[in-house]
Every structure is written in structure tokens, then in C-alpha cells.
């Protein structure tokens, strides 16, 4: 580790204390100088602003693709296409604001709990086919803005389709134990040793973009192998291999320039002229192409800073489409 991605409890504990001090100092100064009112004003965004932020987060987090059965003309967010995994087939549920079939009756706290802890409104556990293992790293504020946006979508009264899972992977009661082993509850801490751009990139890759859900290898129980973060994953999305995103020269993105990566995230064009396909085409279409240029650059900065790891994927699957 480069001291970047991991959470170093000691250092961060101190940093938190320092930043809390700084914030309270700043606040009292602001009050004294009469800027308190202005500050308070800018702290409560209007509902419209929250919905707009939520829409951006919705794209950055790629909620649409899984929860909409686009290929078969399904209604927006009313339930997704089959997700094939080694554990069986998952059918992502209806997340429209319909109060009965969707999540319209969920409280803010319930919605936060779903993303942060993988727990449903009724208290039962969610399966990590819903990538709460990444969304757990989001801030409360972002989660609530996202909810504000979802609540503006059209409610659809469409019942959920039950998953078709193999035992014991279909047993929700086992999930708390799984979470103990694999879930690092967020939100993501800021790394004070890195730039604001790097921290933004980390948040976009690890929390919102959930890139590791496909690009990081998993163990037998479906947990991510954290020591090999983003090192490539055979059958990463349930179908295709997801290549190594670390900057290893031979088996990763080491030969891609920053401009190469940025262009790929914008439109899916690789440095050798090949054009992205598979589920990554959807990620580019729905997510990375929708981001601001600054956010794409932040992703690039973060990916470049990762420790290079050697991919164990077969040569043909490695991607590494350099010049």
C-alpha cells in the first residue's frame, strides 16, 4: 500500500481531532466576523439543488443499469435484468418511489442503512450483489441527496422477481456473518497526506463508481480480495474478465498515458484504437462519460497512484491495450 487507500487509525484519529478543531475555530471566527448568516445560508441547499446533486451521484454510482431491464424495454428503475453470478441469478428490485412495490415508504434512516450496512427497511439483510460493500463508503449527505433524486422518479407498481440462488447462498440469515468478515463500514475517510483531487478520485472509484466490484478478484465466498484491489478479476462482472487497473507495465495500465485513460473514461476508446464492449461499455455510457472533466481527471490521478500489481489473468484477458 502507498499509505493511500488503507485507513490508518492512528494517523487519522489525530487528523480528525485537528480538523474538528480547525472547523470549530473557523466557525467561531465566521460568527464573529458576521459571516455566520451567509455560511448558514450556503449550508442548506434547496430541494432542487439536492435533487440535481442526487442525479449526478446517481450517474456516478451507476444505479440505473442494474435496476432497469433496458434490453427488454423494462420501465426505468422498476427492476433490473438478470445478474448471473456463481451463486445464482439475482433480479435487482424495484427502486422507484412506489410505496408498495418500490421504496417510496422508506425513511431516510432506512435508506442510509441499506447503503451503509446492507440492511433492508424490514431489517432483513441484503445480498452483496447489491454493491453496498462500496456504497457504504458514501457520505450521509450524498446518500440523502441520492434519495431525494430517486423520489422524483416515476413510481411504477411492478412486483419484484424472486432471485434464483443456490443453497446456502440464498440464505439471508447468513449475511450478518458475511458482513463481519467482509464489510468495512464507511464512510470513507479523507487521506490528509494526499491531494483533494486524489481523495475525490478515491471516492469516485471506491465509493460511487464501485469499480472494484468487477475489477477486484473475489474469494470463494464472494468477498473482495483487498490485497489485490483492482488487480483484475476473471469473470469479474459475472461474464467477462475485468482487466487489471493498477499501473503495472506488463499486465496493467502502466503504458497508458493520463490522456489515454481520460479519453477511455470519456468515450470508451482505448489507446490501440479498439473500442470498449461488454458491461464496461455500459459503465462508460451511464457513468464515466457523464462525469465532469475534473472528476474524470480525479479518477485518473487516483488510478495512477495505486501500487502496481501483477495480474494473474490469462494473457488474452488482460486488456492492456497499449500502443
Amino acid at each position: 500500500m502507498t499509505g493511500g487507500a488503507g485507513r490508518t487509525p492512528l494517523g487519522l484519529g489525530r487528523w480528525r481531532a485537528v480538523s474538528a478543531l480547525a472547523v470549530s475555530l473557523f466557525l467561531s471566527l465566521a460568527m464573529m466576523s458576521g459571516a455566520g448568516k451567509l455560511l448558514a445560508g450556503s449550508r442548506v441547499p434547496s430541494q432542487a439543488e439536492r435533487v440535481a446533486r442526487g442525479q449526478y451521484l446517481f450517474d456516478a454510482a451507476g444505479c440505473f443499469g442494474c435496476h432497469t431491464d433496458e434490453a427488454r424495454g423494462g420501465q426505468r428503475l422498476a427492476g433490473g435484468r438478470a445478474l448471473t453470478t456463481p451463486f445464482g441469478i439475482f433480479y435487482p428490485p424495484n427502486i422507484t418511489p412506489d410505496p408498495i412495490y418500490g421504496i417510496g415508504s422508506w425513511s431516510d434512516a432506512a435508506f442510509i442503512r441499506a447503503l451503509r450496512h446492507g440492511v433492508r427497511a424490514d431489517g432483513s439483510s441484503l445480498f452483496p450483489a447489491f454493491p453496498y460493500t462500496s456504497y457504504t463508503l458514501m457520505d450521509d449527505g450524498d446518500i440523502l441527496d441520492l434519495k431525494a433524486y430517486l423520489m422524483t422518479q416515476k413510481p411504477v407498481a411492478q412486483p419484484n422477481r424472486p432471485h434464483e440462488l443456490k443453497d446456502p447462498f440464498g440464505w439471508r440469515v447468513l449475511m450478518p456473518a458475511w458482513n463481519l468478515m467482509y464489510l468495512d463500514v464507511g464512510p470513507l475517510d479523507t487521506n490528509p497526506h494526499q491531494s483533494a483531487q486524489w481523495n475525490r478520485g478515491q471516492y469516485l472509484v471506491r465509493a460511487l463508481g464501485h469499480c472494484g466490484e468487477c475489477h477486484t478478484p473475489r474469494d470463494w465466498a464472494g468477498g473482495l480480495d483487498k490485497r489485490r484491489m483492482l488487480a483484475g478479476n476473471p469473470g469479474g462482472d459475472g461474464v467477462d474478465a475485468s482487466p487489471n487497473l493498477t499501473p503495472d507495465i506488463e499486465t496493467g495500465l502502466g503504458r497508458w498515458s493520463e490522456a489515454d485513460l481520460s479519453l477511455f473514461l470519456e468515450m470508451g476508446l482505448k489507446p490501440n484504437g479498439d473500442v470498449v464492449g461488454g458491461t464496461m461499455a455500459e459503465v462508460v455510457r451511464n457513468t464515466t462519460s457523464q462525469l465532469t472533466l475534473a472528476d474524470r481527471k480525479a479518477i485518473v490521478a487516483y488510478l495512477r497512484s495505486l501500487p502496481p500489481l501483477i495480474s494473474t489473468l490469462p494473457i488474452a484477458s488482460r486488456g492492456n491495450a497499449h500502443r
Binding site: P234, G235, V239, D240, A241, S257, A259, D260, L263, M267, G268, L269, P271, N272, G273, D274, V275, V276, G277, G278, T279, A281, E282, V284, R285, P314, A316, S317, G319, R323
Partner: protein, 154 residues
Amino acid sequence: MALGLALALVVALGIGLWPGSLKADDRAQVVAQRQADMTRMAAAMRVIGRFLKNEGATVAEVGASAVVIRTVATKMTTTLFPEGTAVGVGDSAAKPEIWSQWDVFSQYAADLTAAASRLSAVTGAGNPGALRAPIVVVVRSCSACHESFRQGKP
């Protein structure tokens, strides 16, 4: 013009030569041919990528690349994808859905043809600033078809 005619002739011959049942050798041959053609398009896209990244490619080179792409795109629904050449033939990555959803596949090929023609036309005006938008349309056309019909690596 002469080139167009020659092309049409080759295409017509091609269709004539494929009345449904291809021999194994021929099928492998077709796969190799279309992969080579796809790679030609990728080489053209690489030049276009260099243009976008300000790595020295000129407007004229982008124009020439657009013509290469259009030429291959027009062959996609005629000679490049005869039935019976899906995954399993050679190292093909062509999904069998191409033939069960031929309309959709053809539409993607037509979209790419149109996008490449448009790009070629815009390069004619010589204004580098005007190229980005039509280039994005070309790349999206490649990507849309790959998303549905090109198998990824296992």
C-alpha cells in the same frame, strides 16, 4: 466511382458465394477476414484518438480514417457476418444473437456508416474544433454494437 463499382461487385460475388452453408475452412476464413477488417478500423480509430489527445494527427488524417471506417462498416451486413460464423468458429467473439437480432445488428452497422460519413464530411471543412462531436458519435456506434454483440474475454 470505379472503386465503388468494384466493391459492389465483390459484395455481390460474396453474397453469391454464401448460400447459407459454408464449409468449415471458409467459415474460419470469414472470421479471420472480419477480424482483420475490425483491426483496420481500430488502426483508423487510433489515429483519431491521437487527434483527440493532441498527439499530432491532422484533420486530413482523421478524414482518411473516417473513410476507412465507412468502407468496413458498409461491408458488415453484406460479406463480413454470414450466418454460421459465431463464437466457436476460429477464435471468433461474435455472439450468436447477431443472427437472431439481425435488425438490431444491421441498425448498428448503418449507424456507424452514417457516423463515419458525417465525420468524413466535417473533416472536409478543415476546422479541427468541429471534429470532436462527430467523433464521439462514431466511437459510440462501435461501442453500442460491441456491448450487445461482441463477446468479452472469459
